[in-house]
Protein backbone atom coordinates (compact mmCIF):
# COMPACT_ATOMS: atom_id res chain seq x y z
CA UNK A 1 0.00 0.00 0.00
CA UNK A 2 2.70 2.44 0.97
CA UNK A 3 4.73 1.87 -2.17
CA UNK A 4 1.71 2.76 -4.31
CA UNK A 5 1.38 6.06 -2.43
CA UNK A 6 4.87 7.05 -3.45
CA UNK A 7 3.79 7.26 -7.06
CA UNK A 8 0.85 9.58 -6.51
CA UNK A 9 2.87 12.73 -6.25
CA UNK A 10 5.01 12.25 -9.35
CA UNK A 11 1.88 11.19 -11.22
CA UNK A 12 0.11 14.41 -10.28
CA UNK A 13 3.12 16.47 -11.29
CA UNK A 14 3.31 14.67 -14.61
CA UNK A 15 -0.39 15.23 -15.15
CA UNK A 16 -0.04 18.93 -14.45
CA UNK A 17 2.82 19.25 -16.88
CA UNK A 18 1.10 17.33 -19.65
CA UNK A 19 -2.39 18.74 -19.10
CA UNK A 20 -2.17 21.94 -21.19
CA UNK A 21 -0.57 20.16 -24.11
CA UNK A 22 -3.63 17.95 -24.30
CA UNK A 23 -6.07 20.83 -24.20
CA UNK A 24 -4.05 23.23 -26.29
CA UNK A 25 -6.16 22.78 -29.37
CA UNK A 26 -9.37 21.28 -28.09
CA UNK A 27 -10.11 23.70 -25.28
CA UNK A 28 -7.65 26.54 -24.88
CA UNK A 29 -9.96 28.16 -22.37
CA UNK A 30 -9.12 25.36 -19.97
CA UNK A 31 -5.50 26.48 -19.95
CA UNK A 32 -6.56 29.97 -19.06
CA UNK A 33 -8.68 28.73 -16.20
CA UNK A 34 -5.84 26.59 -14.99
CA UNK A 35 -3.53 29.56 -15.05
CA UNK A 36 -6.02 31.61 -13.09
CA UNK A 37 -6.35 28.86 -10.52
CA UNK A 38 -2.59 28.83 -10.26
CA UNK A 39 -2.43 32.55 -9.55
CA UNK A 40 -5.05 32.25 -6.87
CA UNK A 41 -3.20 29.28 -5.45
CA UNK A 42 -0.05 31.30 -4.94
CA UNK A 43 -2.12 34.06 -3.37
CA UNK A 44 -4.00 31.75 -1.07
CA UNK A 45 -0.98 29.77 -0.02
CA UNK A 46 0.55 33.07 0.98
CA UNK A 47 -2.53 34.17 2.84
CA UNK A 48 -2.73 30.75 4.45
CA UNK A 49 0.52 31.49 6.26
CA UNK A 50 -1.13 34.43 7.95
CA UNK A 51 -4.62 33.09 8.46
CA UNK A 52 -4.20 29.33 8.44
CA UNK A 53 -0.97 28.85 10.30
CA UNK A 54 -0.78 31.92 12.52
CA UNK A 55 -4.48 32.56 12.93
CA UNK A 56 -4.32 36.25 12.03
CA UNK A 57 -7.40 37.39 10.15
CA UNK A 58 -6.37 39.46 7.14
CA UNK A 59 -9.18 41.01 5.12
CA UNK A 60 -7.14 43.21 2.83
CA UNK A 61 -4.68 40.86 1.24
CA UNK A 62 -5.45 42.02 -2.28
CA UNK A 63 -3.57 45.20 -1.41
CA UNK A 64 -0.34 43.26 -1.77
CA UNK A 65 -1.45 41.66 -4.97
CA UNK A 66 -2.08 45.22 -6.15
CA UNK A 67 1.30 46.44 -4.96
CA UNK A 68 3.02 43.63 -6.84
CA UNK A 69 0.93 44.18 -9.94
CA UNK A 70 1.37 47.93 -10.09
CA UNK A 71 5.09 47.92 -9.45
CA UNK A 72 5.47 45.24 -12.08
CA UNK A 73 3.33 47.20 -14.50
CA UNK A 74 5.19 50.46 -14.04
CA UNK A 75 8.59 48.83 -14.33
CA UNK A 76 7.51 46.75 -17.27
CA UNK A 77 6.28 49.76 -19.19
CA UNK A 78 9.76 51.13 -18.66
CA UNK A 79 11.26 48.02 -20.17
CA UNK A 80 12.70 46.48 -17.06
CA UNK A 81 13.22 42.75 -17.41
CA UNK A 82 10.67 40.52 -15.76
CA UNK A 83 13.41 38.63 -13.96
CA UNK A 84 14.44 41.85 -12.21
CA UNK A 85 10.87 42.93 -11.62
CA UNK A 86 10.09 39.73 -9.77
CA UNK A 87 12.55 40.12 -6.91
CA UNK A 88 11.84 43.84 -6.74
CA UNK A 89 8.13 43.20 -6.30
CA UNK A 90 8.73 40.51 -3.77
CA UNK A 91 10.98 42.81 -1.82
CA UNK A 92 8.47 45.64 -2.00
CA UNK A 93 5.66 43.36 -0.83
CA UNK A 94 7.77 42.15 2.04
CA UNK A 95 8.88 45.56 3.16
CA UNK A 96 5.43 47.12 3.04
CA UNK A 97 4.03 44.15 4.88
CA UNK A 98 6.73 44.47 7.51
CA UNK A 99 6.04 48.18 8.01
CA UNK A 100 2.33 47.52 8.19
CA UNK A 101 2.85 44.77 10.73
CA UNK A 102 4.87 46.86 13.13
CA UNK A 103 1.91 48.70 14.58
CA UNK A 104 -0.85 46.35 13.49
CA UNK A 105 0.22 42.98 14.76
CA UNK A 106 -0.24 44.13 18.31
CA UNK A 107 -3.96 44.44 17.76
CA UNK A 108 -6.48 41.93 18.88
CA UNK A 109 -7.81 39.52 16.26
CA UNK A 110 -10.99 41.23 15.11
CA UNK A 111 -9.41 44.64 15.13
CA UNK A 112 -6.58 43.37 12.98
CA UNK A 113 -9.21 42.19 10.54
CA UNK A 114 -10.74 45.63 10.24
CA UNK A 115 -7.44 47.43 9.98
CA UNK A 116 -6.21 45.14 7.22
CA UNK A 117 -9.53 45.73 5.49
CA UNK A 118 -9.00 49.46 5.83
CA UNK A 119 -5.51 49.19 4.44
CA UNK A 120 -6.80 47.20 1.50
CA UNK A 121 -9.30 49.94 0.75
CA UNK A 122 -6.67 52.63 1.17
CA UNK A 123 -4.45 50.97 -1.42
CA UNK A 124 -7.31 50.54 -3.85
CA UNK A 125 -8.53 54.11 -3.47
CA UNK A 126 -4.98 55.43 -3.70
CA UNK A 127 -4.46 53.46 -6.91
CA UNK A 128 -7.66 54.99 -8.18
CA UNK A 129 -6.72 58.54 -7.28
CA UNK A 130 -2.99 58.72 -7.95
CA UNK A 131 -3.69 59.18 -11.62
CA UNK A 132 -0.25 60.44 -12.53
CA UNK A 133 1.38 57.23 -11.33
CA UNK A 134 -1.28 54.63 -11.85
CA UNK A 135 -3.51 56.18 -14.49
CA UNK A 136 -6.37 55.88 -12.03
CA UNK A 137 -9.46 53.92 -12.98
CA UNK A 138 -8.34 53.62 -16.58
CA UNK A 139 -5.63 51.24 -15.46
CA UNK A 140 -2.26 50.34 -16.84
CA UNK A 141 -0.86 50.27 -19.42
CA UNK A 142 -1.97 53.58 -20.80
CA UNK A 143 -2.92 53.95 -24.44
CA UNK A 144 0.19 53.63 -26.53
CA UNK A 145 2.13 51.78 -23.85
CA UNK A 146 2.63 48.10 -23.36
CA UNK A 147 4.08 45.82 -20.80
CA UNK A 148 7.32 44.31 -22.02
CA UNK A 149 7.14 40.61 -22.53
CA UNK A 150 8.90 38.02 -20.49
CA UNK A 151 11.90 36.44 -22.10
CA UNK A 152 13.30 33.17 -20.90
CA UNK A 153 16.44 32.36 -22.86
CA UNK A 154 15.11 32.40 -26.37
CA UNK A 155 11.46 31.86 -25.56
CA UNK A 156 9.16 34.84 -25.56
CA UNK A 157 6.18 34.41 -23.25
CA UNK A 158 3.23 35.33 -25.35
CA UNK A 159 0.80 32.45 -25.15
CA UNK A 160 -1.35 31.31 -22.27
CA UNK A 161 0.52 28.07 -22.25
CA UNK A 162 3.80 29.80 -21.52
CA UNK A 163 2.29 31.51 -18.56
CA UNK A 164 0.71 28.29 -17.44
CA UNK A 165 4.14 26.74 -17.01
CA UNK A 166 5.53 29.83 -15.36
CA UNK A 167 2.66 29.87 -12.90
CA UNK A 168 2.92 26.13 -12.36
CA UNK A 169 6.55 26.56 -11.45
CA UNK A 170 5.76 29.17 -8.83
CA UNK A 171 2.82 27.20 -7.50
CA UNK A 172 5.17 24.31 -7.01
CA UNK A 173 7.61 26.54 -5.14
CA UNK A 174 4.81 27.94 -3.03
CA UNK A 175 3.62 24.47 -2.07
CA UNK A 176 7.10 23.25 -1.23
CA UNK A 177 7.81 26.39 0.76
CA UNK A 178 4.56 26.00 2.69
CA UNK A 179 5.22 22.36 3.49
CA UNK A 180 8.74 23.09 4.63
CA UNK A 181 7.49 25.91 6.78
CA UNK A 182 4.79 23.68 8.27
CA UNK A 183 7.25 21.06 9.40
CA UNK A 184 9.80 23.27 11.02
CA UNK A 185 10.53 25.02 14.28
CA UNK A 186 9.13 28.22 12.83
CA UNK A 187 6.00 26.50 11.57
CA UNK A 188 5.29 24.99 14.95
CA UNK A 189 5.80 28.38 16.53
CA UNK A 190 3.19 29.85 14.17
CA UNK A 191 0.63 27.23 15.02
CA UNK A 192 1.40 27.64 18.72
CA UNK A 193 0.67 31.35 18.38
CA UNK A 194 -2.61 30.52 16.66
CA UNK A 195 -3.58 28.14 19.42
CA UNK A 196 -2.65 30.32 22.37
CA UNK A 197 -0.66 33.46 21.93
CA UNK A 198 -0.03 34.02 25.60
CA UNK A 199 1.14 30.48 26.19
CA UNK A 200 3.35 30.75 23.12
CA UNK A 201 5.07 33.83 24.48
CA UNK A 202 5.53 32.21 27.85
CA UNK A 203 6.92 29.09 26.25
CA UNK A 204 9.76 31.12 24.86
CA UNK A 205 8.48 32.21 21.46
CA UNK A 206 9.09 35.82 20.52
CA UNK A 207 5.52 36.21 19.36
CA UNK A 208 5.89 39.68 17.90
CA UNK A 209 8.89 38.71 15.79
CA UNK A 210 7.43 35.41 14.61
CA UNK A 211 4.11 37.01 13.67
CA UNK A 212 6.07 39.54 11.68
CA UNK A 213 7.90 36.84 9.77
CA UNK A 214 4.63 35.13 8.86
CA UNK A 215 3.11 38.44 7.87
CA UNK A 216 6.07 39.41 5.67
CA UNK A 217 6.28 36.01 4.02
CA UNK A 218 2.66 36.15 2.97
CA UNK A 219 3.18 39.64 1.58
CA UNK A 220 5.97 38.31 -0.60
CA UNK A 221 3.71 35.60 -2.03
CA UNK A 222 1.01 38.18 -2.66
CA UNK A 223 3.26 40.60 -4.51
CA UNK A 224 4.78 37.76 -6.52
CA UNK A 225 1.43 36.63 -7.84
CA UNK A 226 0.48 40.22 -8.66
CA UNK A 227 3.62 40.67 -10.72
CA UNK A 228 2.99 37.49 -12.69
CA UNK A 229 -0.67 38.33 -13.24
CA UNK A 230 0.12 41.79 -14.57
CA UNK A 231 2.46 40.37 -17.17
CA UNK A 232 0.08 37.63 -18.14
CA UNK A 233 -3.17 39.54 -18.56
CA UNK A 234 -1.40 42.64 -19.78
CA UNK A 235 -3.81 44.99 -18.05
CA UNK A 236 -4.49 45.99 -14.45
CA UNK A 237 -6.89 48.44 -12.88
CA UNK A 238 -8.02 49.28 -9.35
CA UNK A 239 -11.32 47.38 -9.61
CA UNK A 240 -9.41 44.13 -9.68
CA UNK A 241 -8.30 44.62 -6.11
CA UNK A 242 -11.50 45.18 -4.24
CA UNK A 243 -12.40 44.16 -0.75
CA UNK A 244 -14.58 41.37 -2.15
CA UNK A 245 -11.56 39.85 -3.83
CA UNK A 246 -9.80 39.81 -0.47
CA UNK A 247 -12.87 38.25 1.05
CA UNK A 248 -12.94 35.53 -1.60
CA UNK A 249 -9.39 34.63 -0.73
CA UNK A 250 -10.35 34.21 2.91
CA UNK A 251 -13.39 32.18 1.89
CA UNK A 252 -11.27 29.87 -0.27
CA UNK A 253 -8.96 29.15 2.60
CA UNK A 254 -11.62 28.70 5.23
CA UNK A 255 -13.96 26.60 3.12
CA UNK A 256 -11.16 24.44 1.76
CA UNK A 257 -9.60 23.93 5.16
CA UNK A 258 -7.55 26.51 7.01
CA UNK A 259 -3.95 25.71 7.65
CA UNK A 260 -4.02 22.68 5.38
CA UNK A 261 -2.24 22.92 2.04
CA UNK A 262 -4.55 20.38 0.43
CA UNK A 263 -7.49 22.25 1.88
CA UNK A 264 -6.31 25.52 0.39
CA UNK A 265 -5.86 23.87 -3.00
CA UNK A 266 -9.33 22.40 -2.79
CA UNK A 267 -10.78 25.74 -1.77
CA UNK A 268 -9.24 27.50 -4.73
CA UNK A 269 -10.48 24.82 -7.13
CA UNK A 270 -13.99 25.06 -5.77
CA UNK A 271 -14.33 28.80 -5.61
CA UNK A 272 -12.35 29.75 -8.70
CA UNK A 273 -12.40 26.69 -10.88
CA UNK A 274 -16.01 25.61 -10.53
CA UNK A 275 -17.61 28.97 -11.36
CA UNK A 276 -15.28 29.33 -14.35
CA UNK A 277 -16.13 25.88 -15.60
CA UNK A 278 -19.83 26.48 -15.04
CA UNK A 279 -19.61 29.81 -16.80
CA UNK A 280 -18.13 28.09 -19.78
CA UNK A 281 -20.65 25.28 -19.90
CA UNK A 282 -23.86 26.94 -18.80
CA UNK A 283 -23.51 30.23 -20.61
CA UNK A 284 -24.68 33.73 -19.91
CA UNK A 285 -27.95 33.06 -18.18
CA UNK A 286 -26.08 31.26 -15.48
CA UNK A 287 -23.74 34.16 -14.92
CA UNK A 288 -26.51 36.23 -13.37
CA UNK A 289 -27.33 33.54 -10.87
CA UNK A 290 -23.72 32.56 -10.35
CA UNK A 291 -23.06 34.86 -7.44
CA UNK A 292 -26.41 34.14 -5.85
CA UNK A 293 -25.68 30.42 -5.83
CA UNK A 294 -22.15 31.12 -4.70
CA UNK A 295 -23.35 32.98 -1.63
CA UNK A 296 -25.84 30.28 -0.72
CA UNK A 297 -23.28 27.53 -1.19
CA UNK A 298 -20.78 29.40 0.93
CA UNK A 299 -23.22 29.53 3.81
CA UNK A 300 -24.22 25.91 3.37
CA UNK A 301 -20.68 24.60 3.27
CA UNK A 302 -19.50 26.48 6.30
CA UNK A 303 -22.48 25.41 8.34
CA UNK A 304 -21.95 21.78 7.59
CA UNK A 305 -18.17 21.82 7.78
CA UNK A 306 -17.11 24.73 9.98
CA UNK A 307 -13.52 23.60 10.08
CA UNK A 308 -13.38 23.47 6.31
CA UNK A 309 -13.77 20.53 3.97
CA UNK A 310 -10.26 19.28 4.62
CA UNK A 311 -9.43 20.38 8.13
CA UNK A 312 -5.85 20.82 9.10
CA UNK A 313 -4.30 17.72 10.57
CA UNK A 314 -0.91 17.71 12.18
CA UNK A 315 1.30 15.03 10.76
CA UNK A 316 1.85 12.06 13.03
CA UNK A 317 5.49 11.84 14.03
CA UNK A 318 7.49 8.79 14.85
CA UNK A 319 7.83 8.40 18.59
CA UNK A 320 11.26 7.37 19.83
CA UNK A 321 11.56 5.49 23.05
CA UNK A 322 14.83 5.91 24.88
CA UNK A 323 16.38 3.14 26.93
Amino acid sequence: MKSAGRYILPAIILLLIVFPLVFLHSNPYAIQVAGLIGIYLILCLGLNITIGYTGLLDLGFMAFYAIGAYIAAILSINNVSFWIILPVCMLAGGVVRWLLGLPLLKLRGDYLAIVTLAFGEIVRIAANNAVSITNGPKGLPRVGERFSSINFFSIKFTENIHFYYLILFFVFIAIVASRRLENSRLGRALVAIREDEVAAELTGINVAAVKSVAFVLSGIFGALSGAIYAHWIGFISPEMFTFWESVFLVAMIVIGGMGNISGVILGVFLLVGVPEILRDTLGTRFVDYRMLIFGAVMVAVIIFRPQGILPSKRRALELEAHV
Binding site: D110, I114, V254, I255, A296, P306
Partner: protein, 297 residues
Protein backbone atom coordinates in the same frame (compact mmCIF):
# COMPACT_ATOMS: atom_id res chain seq x y z
CA UNK B 1 -18.31 76.92 5.73
CA UNK B 2 -17.42 75.40 9.04
CA UNK B 3 -21.02 75.44 10.17
CA UNK B 4 -22.11 73.87 6.93
CA UNK B 5 -19.66 71.04 7.39
CA UNK B 6 -20.80 70.54 10.94
CA UNK B 7 -24.41 70.34 9.81
CA UNK B 8 -23.56 67.92 7.05
CA UNK B 9 -21.37 65.96 9.44
CA UNK B 10 -24.06 65.63 12.06
CA UNK B 11 -26.56 64.46 9.49
CA UNK B 12 -24.18 61.92 8.08
CA UNK B 13 -23.13 60.99 11.56
CA UNK B 14 -26.69 60.27 12.59
CA UNK B 15 -27.02 57.73 9.81
CA UNK B 16 -23.67 56.17 10.59
CA UNK B 17 -24.46 56.01 14.29
CA UNK B 18 -27.73 54.16 13.75
CA UNK B 19 -26.01 51.87 11.31
CA UNK B 20 -23.05 51.28 13.65
CA UNK B 21 -25.32 50.32 16.52
CA UNK B 22 -26.30 47.14 14.71
CA UNK B 23 -22.68 46.07 14.39
CA UNK B 24 -21.77 46.90 17.92
CA UNK B 25 -24.77 45.26 19.56
CA UNK B 26 -24.26 42.01 17.71
CA UNK B 27 -20.58 42.05 18.50
CA UNK B 28 -21.31 42.80 22.11
CA UNK B 29 -23.52 39.80 22.48
CA UNK B 30 -21.90 37.23 20.22
CA UNK B 31 -18.36 38.51 19.70
CA UNK B 32 -19.02 38.26 16.02
CA UNK B 33 -18.73 40.72 13.14
CA UNK B 34 -22.05 40.63 11.30
CA UNK B 35 -20.81 41.32 7.82
CA UNK B 36 -24.28 40.99 6.39
CA UNK B 37 -25.54 43.93 8.45
CA UNK B 38 -24.79 46.14 5.45
CA UNK B 39 -27.41 44.20 3.54
CA UNK B 40 -29.97 44.76 6.29
CA UNK B 41 -29.29 48.45 5.73
CA UNK B 42 -29.90 47.99 2.03
CA UNK B 43 -33.03 45.92 2.51
CA UNK B 44 -34.41 48.53 4.88
CA UNK B 45 -33.92 51.16 2.22
CA UNK B 46 -35.69 49.07 -0.41
CA UNK B 47 -38.47 48.32 2.03
CA UNK B 48 -39.08 52.00 2.52
CA UNK B 49 -38.92 52.47 -1.21
CA UNK B 50 -41.53 49.79 -1.87
CA UNK B 51 -43.72 51.12 0.82
CA UNK B 52 -43.72 54.55 -0.75
CA UNK B 53 -44.24 53.39 -4.28
CA UNK B 54 -46.83 50.75 -3.56
CA UNK B 55 -49.05 52.73 -1.29
CA UNK B 56 -49.41 55.97 -3.18
CA UNK B 57 -52.80 56.58 -1.71
CA UNK B 58 -51.19 57.13 1.64
CA UNK B 59 -49.22 60.07 0.35
CA UNK B 60 -52.31 62.07 0.97
CA UNK B 61 -51.59 61.59 4.65
CA UNK B 62 -47.92 62.46 5.05
CA UNK B 63 -48.35 62.47 8.76
CA UNK B 64 -49.20 58.76 8.61
CA UNK B 65 -47.04 57.81 5.69
CA UNK B 66 -43.64 58.58 7.10
CA UNK B 67 -44.04 56.81 10.42
CA UNK B 68 -45.67 53.85 8.68
CA UNK B 69 -42.79 53.64 6.26
CA UNK B 70 -40.26 53.61 9.05
CA UNK B 71 -42.25 51.09 10.99
CA UNK B 72 -42.38 48.82 7.99
CA UNK B 73 -38.65 49.18 7.48
CA UNK B 74 -37.90 48.46 11.11
CA UNK B 75 -40.05 45.37 11.22
CA UNK B 76 -38.87 44.03 7.90
CA UNK B 77 -35.19 44.61 8.62
CA UNK B 78 -35.50 43.36 12.15
CA UNK B 79 -37.20 40.15 11.10
CA UNK B 80 -34.66 39.59 8.35
CA UNK B 81 -31.86 40.02 10.86
CA UNK B 82 -33.45 37.53 13.23
CA UNK B 83 -33.88 35.07 10.37
CA UNK B 84 -30.28 35.58 9.38
CA UNK B 85 -29.12 34.76 12.87
CA UNK B 86 -31.28 31.67 13.11
CA UNK B 87 -30.27 30.20 9.78
CA UNK B 88 -26.71 31.28 9.21
CA UNK B 89 -25.15 32.03 12.58
CA UNK B 90 -26.76 29.97 15.30
CA UNK B 91 -25.49 26.64 13.92
CA UNK B 92 -21.99 28.06 14.17
CA UNK B 93 -22.04 29.21 17.78
CA UNK B 94 -19.41 26.69 18.80
CA UNK B 95 -17.55 26.66 15.53
CA UNK B 96 -14.04 28.06 15.02
CA UNK B 97 -13.87 31.81 15.18
CA UNK B 98 -13.76 32.48 11.46
CA UNK B 99 -16.70 30.30 10.48
CA UNK B 100 -19.54 32.74 11.37
CA UNK B 101 -17.65 35.44 9.51
CA UNK B 102 -17.57 33.34 6.37
CA UNK B 103 -21.23 32.57 6.78
CA UNK B 104 -22.00 36.27 7.12
CA UNK B 105 -20.05 36.97 3.96
CA UNK B 106 -22.02 34.31 2.14
CA UNK B 107 -25.30 35.80 3.36
CA UNK B 108 -24.14 39.22 2.25
CA UNK B 109 -23.32 38.02 -1.24
CA UNK B 110 -26.62 36.15 -1.43
CA UNK B 111 -28.75 39.10 -0.36
CA UNK B 112 -26.99 41.56 -2.61
CA UNK B 113 -27.43 39.38 -5.64
CA UNK B 114 -30.98 38.48 -4.69
CA UNK B 115 -31.88 42.14 -4.68
CA UNK B 116 -29.97 42.74 -7.88
CA UNK B 117 -31.84 39.99 -9.68
CA UNK B 118 -35.19 40.63 -8.09
CA UNK B 119 -35.26 44.36 -8.63
CA UNK B 120 -32.53 45.72 -10.84
CA UNK B 121 -28.81 46.23 -11.06
CA UNK B 122 -29.48 49.90 -11.60
CA UNK B 123 -29.99 52.40 -8.87
CA UNK B 124 -33.55 53.46 -8.19
CA UNK B 125 -34.41 56.99 -7.32
CA UNK B 126 -35.93 57.34 -3.90
CA UNK B 127 -39.29 59.06 -4.03
CA UNK B 128 -39.67 62.32 -2.17
CA UNK B 129 -41.65 61.65 0.87
CA UNK B 130 -41.97 65.11 2.25
CA UNK B 131 -41.42 68.63 1.18
CA UNK B 132 -38.03 69.91 2.00
CA UNK B 133 -37.83 73.42 3.29
CA UNK B 134 -34.54 75.15 3.58
CA UNK B 135 -33.39 77.40 6.37
CA UNK B 136 -30.47 79.69 6.70
CA UNK B 137 -28.42 79.24 9.82
CA UNK B 138 -25.44 81.49 10.42
CA UNK B 139 -24.48 81.51 6.78
CA UNK B 140 -25.08 77.83 6.20
CA UNK B 141 -28.04 76.07 4.64
CA UNK B 142 -29.93 73.49 6.67
CA UNK B 143 -32.87 71.68 5.22
CA UNK B 144 -35.73 70.05 7.06
CA UNK B 145 -34.65 66.61 5.94
CA UNK B 146 -31.34 67.02 7.71
CA UNK B 147 -33.06 68.16 10.83
CA UNK B 148 -35.47 65.27 10.60
CA UNK B 149 -32.67 62.74 10.21
CA UNK B 150 -30.81 64.16 13.14
CA UNK B 151 -33.82 64.32 15.42
CA UNK B 152 -35.12 60.90 14.51
CA UNK B 153 -31.72 59.39 15.21
CA UNK B 154 -31.42 61.13 18.56
CA UNK B 155 -34.88 59.95 19.54
CA UNK B 156 -34.09 56.38 18.60
CA UNK B 157 -30.78 56.46 20.41
CA UNK B 158 -32.37 57.83 23.54
CA UNK B 159 -35.03 55.15 23.36
CA UNK B 160 -32.33 52.54 22.99
CA UNK B 161 -30.41 53.90 25.96
CA UNK B 162 -33.53 53.80 28.08
CA UNK B 163 -34.35 50.34 26.88
CA UNK B 164 -30.90 48.97 27.61
CA UNK B 165 -30.45 50.57 30.98
CA UNK B 166 -33.88 50.85 32.43
CA UNK B 167 -35.84 47.82 31.35
CA UNK B 168 -35.61 44.24 32.44
CA UNK B 169 -35.03 43.01 28.91
CA UNK B 170 -32.27 45.55 28.51
CA UNK B 171 -30.72 44.25 31.67
CA UNK B 172 -30.95 40.73 30.31
CA UNK B 173 -29.18 41.87 27.18
CA UNK B 174 -26.39 43.37 29.22
CA UNK B 175 -26.15 40.19 31.25
CA UNK B 176 -25.87 37.99 28.19
CA UNK B 177 -23.25 40.34 26.74
CA UNK B 178 -21.16 39.78 29.82
CA UNK B 179 -21.46 36.05 30.14
CA UNK B 180 -23.76 33.66 28.32
CA UNK B 181 -23.39 30.81 30.76
CA UNK B 182 -24.07 32.78 33.89
CA UNK B 183 -27.00 34.58 32.28
CA UNK B 184 -28.51 31.24 31.38
CA UNK B 185 -28.06 30.02 34.94
CA UNK B 186 -29.96 33.09 36.07
CA UNK B 187 -32.89 31.93 34.00
CA UNK B 188 -32.45 34.12 30.96
CA UNK B 189 -33.40 32.58 27.64
CA UNK B 190 -30.16 33.37 25.86
CA UNK B 191 -31.40 32.50 22.39
CA UNK B 192 -34.38 34.81 22.73
CA UNK B 193 -32.19 37.64 23.93
CA UNK B 194 -29.83 37.17 21.04
CA UNK B 195 -32.75 37.23 18.63
CA UNK B 196 -33.95 40.43 20.27
CA UNK B 197 -30.56 42.06 19.86
CA UNK B 198 -30.53 41.14 16.18
CA UNK B 199 -34.03 42.53 15.80
CA UNK B 200 -33.15 45.85 17.39
CA UNK B 201 -29.81 46.17 15.65
CA UNK B 202 -31.38 45.17 12.37
CA UNK B 203 -34.27 47.53 12.83
CA UNK B 204 -31.95 50.44 13.49
CA UNK B 205 -29.89 49.46 10.48
CA UNK B 206 -33.04 49.44 8.38
CA UNK B 207 -33.92 52.93 9.56
CA UNK B 208 -30.41 54.03 8.67
CA UNK B 209 -30.96 52.59 5.21
CA UNK B 210 -34.19 54.47 4.69
CA UNK B 211 -32.59 57.70 5.90
CA UNK B 212 -29.68 57.10 3.59
CA UNK B 213 -32.05 56.60 0.69
CA UNK B 214 -33.94 59.75 1.56
CA UNK B 215 -30.79 61.79 1.99
CA UNK B 216 -29.00 60.74 -1.16
CA UNK B 217 -32.15 60.31 -3.19
CA UNK B 218 -31.33 56.88 -4.58
CA UNK B 219 -30.85 53.27 -3.60
CA UNK B 220 -28.96 50.40 -5.19
CA UNK B 221 -28.42 46.74 -4.45
CA UNK B 222 -24.86 47.34 -3.28
CA UNK B 223 -25.50 50.56 -1.40
CA UNK B 224 -24.66 48.90 1.88
CA UNK B 225 -21.11 47.96 1.18
CA UNK B 226 -19.10 51.15 1.60
CA UNK B 227 -21.29 52.73 4.29
CA UNK B 228 -21.17 49.37 6.03
CA UNK B 229 -17.41 49.33 6.22
CA UNK B 230 -17.45 52.91 7.41
CA UNK B 231 -20.11 52.27 10.00
CA UNK B 232 -18.22 49.27 11.24
CA UNK B 233 -15.14 51.44 11.40
CA UNK B 234 -17.12 53.87 13.49
CA UNK B 235 -18.21 51.12 15.85
CA UNK B 236 -14.65 49.94 16.29
CA UNK B 237 -13.32 53.44 16.81
CA UNK B 238 -15.90 53.96 19.51
CA UNK B 239 -15.08 50.65 21.10
CA UNK B 240 -16.75 47.64 19.59
CA UNK B 241 -19.47 46.24 21.79
CA UNK B 242 -20.06 49.59 23.42
CA UNK B 243 -23.36 51.24 22.47
CA UNK B 244 -22.39 54.75 23.42
CA UNK B 245 -19.11 54.19 21.67
CA UNK B 246 -20.90 53.31 18.46
CA UNK B 247 -22.96 56.48 18.65
CA UNK B 248 -19.89 58.56 19.32
CA UNK B 249 -17.97 56.78 16.61
CA UNK B 250 -20.77 57.32 14.13
CA UNK B 251 -20.87 61.05 14.70
CA UNK B 252 -17.11 61.34 14.68
CA UNK B 253 -16.95 59.53 11.39
CA UNK B 254 -19.75 61.67 9.93
CA UNK B 255 -18.01 64.87 10.93
CA UNK B 256 -14.67 63.57 9.72
CA UNK B 257 -16.13 62.70 6.37
CA UNK B 258 -17.89 66.05 6.02
CA UNK B 259 -14.74 67.95 6.86
CA UNK B 260 -12.62 65.84 4.54
CA UNK B 261 -15.04 66.31 1.69
CA UNK B 262 -15.35 69.99 2.36
CA UNK B 263 -11.78 70.96 3.07
CA UNK B 264 -9.62 68.38 1.41
CA UNK B 265 -11.22 66.48 -1.40
CA UNK B 266 -14.25 64.39 -1.98
CA UNK B 267 -12.42 61.51 -3.59
CA UNK B 268 -10.04 61.09 -0.72
CA UNK B 269 -12.55 61.33 2.09
CA UNK B 270 -12.69 57.57 2.42
CA UNK B 271 -8.94 57.14 2.63
CA UNK B 272 -8.94 59.68 5.41
CA UNK B 273 -11.65 57.83 7.26
CA UNK B 274 -9.74 54.57 7.05
CA UNK B 275 -6.43 56.15 7.92
CA UNK B 276 -8.00 57.69 11.00
CA UNK B 277 -9.30 54.28 11.97
CA UNK B 278 -5.86 52.79 11.80
CA UNK B 279 -4.38 55.65 13.81
CA UNK B 280 -7.02 55.47 16.52
CA UNK B 281 -6.55 51.76 16.93
CA UNK B 282 -2.81 52.14 17.15
CA UNK B 283 -3.12 54.59 19.97
CA UNK B 284 -6.16 53.13 21.70
CA UNK B 285 -6.37 49.48 20.73
CA UNK B 286 -9.65 49.11 22.54
CA UNK B 287 -11.28 51.95 20.68
CA UNK B 288 -12.12 55.27 22.27
CA UNK B 289 -14.62 53.98 24.78
CA UNK B 290 -13.83 50.33 24.66
CA UNK B 291 -12.95 48.40 27.73
CA UNK B 292 -9.54 46.87 27.64
CA UNK B 293 -10.51 43.29 28.13
CA UNK B 294 -7.54 42.09 30.10
CA UNK B 295 -7.12 38.40 30.08
CA UNK B 296 -6.61 36.62 33.33
CA UNK B 297 -3.42 34.65 33.00
Amino acid sequence: MLIQQIINGLTLGSIYALFALGYTMVYGILLMINFAHSEIFMVGAYCGFWFLSMLPFLSAFPGLLIPAMFLAAIIFSGVLAVLMERVAYRPLRRAPRLAPLISAIGVSIFLQNLMMLAVSAQSQPYPESFNITRFQFYGATVNSLQIFIFLLSIVLMVLLEIFIHKTKVGQAIRAVSQNHVVAQLMGIDVNKIIAMVFFIGGGLGGVAGVLNGMYYGSIKYNMGFLPGIKAFTAAVVGGIGNIRGAIAGGFILGLLEAFSAGYISSENKNIIAFAVLILVLMVRPGGLFGEEVTEKI
